[in-house]
């Protein structure tokens, strides 16, 4: 399944941890598929996660799922990973004319032992602090240009997630948050989420340091490995994560009816 020789069982656990960390309240189970309908920006919380094959057949399942998206006023999206069920789901969706988009990657860091979170950002000029779900969602939403509805959905999802999230924000000397991110810790697995640096503050290694602090904190909470999801086309982000020791684990993408693209 992967070029890097990671254990399939472990990667399946990583995939589950990613699903658990992003569980929205607006979730149904339809014949083995998780149907997520959170009105936020993150597609993982507003898409079908086809985790089990079920019994009905793909077309019948889709016929049950698609009206739920319409009712929630969201475009219907299916997230396709190497673990998607039933087998040949991706091919089938392609045949019925669903378009592939947003090729992404899950990257993993098998050990957090090399992650040191000591050391400071240029001391006195910047400060790193824990922020609550609502403040973090407001900041990262503003940074990404999210709508008020998306920001509210994001805050709601992190505050109520079954897996605890910890958000850190880095302020510059003027008190403006220029870099932030979250880590979600489930047992031994720490997931990095929503790592973002404002445009004018990029290229200074802030996100690198922030991620080290997030992972260092996760380690203190008992995590021993890290994972994250990244846009496959985002070369800068992938370079950042490779520097931290993350390696490509498995790809995933989304499909949606052509009209919704």
């Amino acid at each position: 399944m992967t070029a890097d020789g990671f254990d399939d069982g472990w990667l399946a656990r990583i995939e589950e941890a990613g699903l658990n960390a992003s569980t929205p309240r607006e979730q149904r189970v339809i014949d083995g598929w998780l149907v997520r309908l959170a009105p936020g920006k993150a597609k993982r919380a507003r898409s079908i996660q086809p985790v089990a094959p079920g019994r009905l057949g793909i077309d019948k399942k889709l016929a049950l799922c698609l009206p739920l998206f319409a009712a929630a006023e969201l475009p219907p999206i299916v997230r396709i990973t190497p673990f998607a069920q039933p087998a040949r789901l991706d091919e089938h969706l392609a045949e019925v004319g669903m378009t592939r988009f947003d090729d992404s990657l899950v990257m993993v860091l098998p050990s957090l032992d090399g992650i040191a979170s000591t050391g400071t950002f240029d001391s006195g000029a910047a400060s790193l602090e824990t922020v609550d779900a609502r403040s973090f969602a407001a900041w990262v939403g503003a940074a990404r240009g999210s709508s008020a509805r998306e920001v509210a959905a994001h805050a709601d999802r992190i505050a109520n997630a079954p897996v605890p999230h910890h958000a850190l924000a880095l302020r510059d000397r003027d008190g403006v948050v220029v870099c932030g991110g979250q880590v979600a810790v489930e047992g031994s697995l720490a997931g990095l989420y929503d790592v973002f640096t404002l445009g004018e503050a990029r290229g200074r290694g802030l996100a690198d340091r922030l991620c080290r602090h997030l992972l260092g904190h996760a380690r203190r909470l008992g995590a021993s490995a890290g994972y994250l999801q990244v846009d496959a086309a985002n070369a800068g982000a992938r370079r950042l994560y490779r520097r931290l020791g993350f390696r490509d684990a498995y790809p995933y993408h989304y499909r949606t009816p052509a009209a919704a693209v």
């Binding site: 979170s117 400060s127 260092g216």
Partner: protein
């Protein structure tokens, strides 16, 4: 990182109980917390579940610059925060520091190196005006004063206020009294209610809203090596400290130059 001294020049007023329970309460609110025990009695160390007699390195080594905080800190097993421990060895530091340069700013320099690792540092100061206390006060953004509502308590307070004024003028212009915390409070005792009212009248909103009641579970917890907040979370004392942690977190946020934006 916000640094607070828990100080009162009167002994036995509940400084250590306040330090470890505020630390555990803030940790429950998902804040990253470091407790620095600056009292040679080592009660905050023991009360955090760390054996002061078995310390390889302690705050003594930090003050004499034999070791950095990253090497000395230990995790409190039940508290959810880190600890820089102290024991009787620290009493000797007083004498050794006198001949050294920057003798009153050693702790401040050491804390600056881990500024990004913590949201809160709580320093348990000894009940005397010594070089140890000065190291605490010159490091801090603010002082939290635990007080029993008894007549003579007010006298100790005026000494402390004078000390803080001097430190403010000579060592640390950023220092301020964050607030006065009423501890071991028994509303059935008329004098305590009267003193409590006097405090409110005299110090206004510098008196914290939260009142810590006299509570046997808080008193029992140290012998189990746990903050009361972890030892019996349902007890009235533990709940009061969690409320206090919330109030402190809000006051610390208000102290900042700017909100998250």
């Amino acid at each position: 990182m916000r640094i607070f001294c828990i100080a009162n020049q009167k002994g036995g007023v509940g400084k250590t109980t306040t330090t470890v329970n505020l630390a555990a309460g803030l940790a429950q609110l998902d804040r990253r917390v470091l407790v620095v025990d600056l009292d040679p009695q080592g009660n905050a160390t023991m009360g955090s579940g760390i054996d002061k007699r078995a310390l390889d390195l302690s705050v003594y080594d930090v003050l004499l610059e034999n070791a950095g905080i990253a090497e000395v800190r230990q995790a409190s097993p039940k508290g959810g925060y880190d600890v820089i421990g102290a024991n009787r060895e620290l009493a000797g530091a007083e004498v050794e520091l006198v001949g050294l340069e920057r003798r009153d700013k050693r702790l401040r320099s050491a804390l600056a190196k881990v500024a990004d690792d913590y949201d809160f540092v709580l320093i348990d100061c000894p009940p005397s005006l010594s070089l140890l206390t000065l190291n605490g006060l010159s490091s801090a953004h603010g002082v939290v004063v635990p007080m029993q509502c008894e007549y003579f308590a007010l006298e100790g307070l005026s000494d402390l206020v004078n000390t803080i004024k001097q430190v403010h003028a000579n060592l640390n212009p950023g220092l301020e009294v964050i607030g006065i915390l009423r501890v071991m409070f028994d509303p059935r005792i008329t004098l305590q209610t009267q003193v409590s009212e006097q405090l409110k009248a005299h110090f206004g909103d510098k008196v914290f809203d939260t009142v810590i009641p006299r509570n046997v579970r808080l008193a029992e917890a140290p012998s189990y090596g746990m903050p009361g907040v972890a030892f019996d979370p349902a007890s009235k004392g533990a709940q009061a400290f969690v409320d206090f942690a919330r109030e402190m977190a809000a006051r610390a946020d208000a102290l900042r130059a700017a909100p998250v934006r």
